[in-house]
Symmetry: C2
Subunit: 219 residues, 2 copies
């Protein structure tokens, strides 16, 4: 019997960010195991106050609370949910640690190499050096994607069965894909399509989109 | 009774990287709990072959093996070692999940914001836009450092008692410090000094340095 759970998310973000905010990862994991939660919706247009930063020190979403337990970082929440259900994280030790290795790899060996590209293109495109910087950072990102593609090869999922690692990696690749950087990586594109074809992904995406207002709240 | 363990590391790296290679995190955790391991030393000057990438898909260090169990990513290995010893990861649920949250925060909410600064300064300093890019990326990194500093406040360690989160965060801050970016953050500087004053840190650093050859192996 699970305790009632609360997930933090935003009540409004600009269109380009919809479907990309990281509470999606946690919603996806919850949908895979039919775990209910209540979303607490924050105003992304204002700084979060101390009532939130004592829960999430960087003011980001998602954060998670159940009973007296609280945690933050999508990776940590995925791991926690994984520990509650084999469908998210198999208990066989080698499979478990491969899934956990890939979870960290998504967040620390792939996402940080893609991040500067997203950052330059979305937030610093007005700089005269934006395109040169994009071209400069791109090979390191492509090297990681090549290595990831080689590792996936003929596998369906990263650690054997579907796991929290695939939720993290697919949401990272979704950002890559939105910049058309997956064009040369058919294995990764197929993996991403496979992940996004899961009914739980579709339900999680809809849940995130349904929670957004059309406009930011008037101040 | 622990199984014999193997850690991958490099046999030579340039001076600027010595003391910064990520096997340091695992060595540090091992020293905190007197866990022995054997280092297997790789040639960093050549691409790693399939005998290594089947263990570590990105060809990086560290990777870890004990008995039939293998894993990669410093964060995953820290978590695994944490699960073997309360001195690295307390078993009290709230403290455990705070430590795990902070472990992910170090690797996904702090390091990726510092990474582009390190990257620009170390590897792209010859670009005419290097200083402007550094200045452009700096505020996001400083915002994270400010939030981290506020969260640490008067605390000794991130999750209460010392944990794997502190090993991850201190090694991230060490890179920040080496670019003189901690000057405006006395709380973070004191935290880093406190972490690096631990005898286990000094032993781990020495173990990494001792394993480096003076010169790369002749080809």
């Amino acid at each position: 019997m699970n305790l009632p759970a609360t997930l933090s998310a935003f009540e409004w973000v600009p269109d380009f960010a919809r479907g990309h905010v990281r509470d999606l990862r946690v919603r996806w994991a919850c949908e895979e195991i039919d775990r209910p939660y209540d979303a607490v919706l924050l105003d992304a247009t204002r700084p979060r106050g101390p009532d939130y930063t004592c829960w999430q020190p960087f003011g980001q979403v998602p954060a998670w609370r159940e009973g007296t337990l609280s945690m933050f970082e999508s990776g940590a929440i995925l791991l926690h949910l994984g520990e509650t259900d084999e469908r998210l994280l198999p208990s066989d030790p080698q499979t478990r640690w491969q899934a956990i290795s890939w979870l960290f790899a998504a967040l620390n060996s792939v996402e940080p190499y893609v991040g500067p590209l997203v950052d330059v293109r979305l937030f610093h495109a007005d700089r005269p050096w934006a395109e040169d910087a994009f071209a400069t950072f791109r090979p390191a990102a492509e090297q990681r994607l090549t290595q990831l593609s080689d590792a996936i090869g003929e596998r369906e999922w990263l650690a054997g069965p579907f796991s929290i690692a695939d939720i993290a990696m697919a949401t990272v690749l979704k950002d890559v894909s939105s910049m058309n950087l997956l064009d040369g990586f058919p294995t990764l594109d197929a993996y991403l399509q496979r992940a996004c074809a899961r009914p739980a992904y579709a339900r999680a995406l809809q849940a995130q989109l349904d929670d957004f207002r059309d406009q930011p709240k008037a101040t």
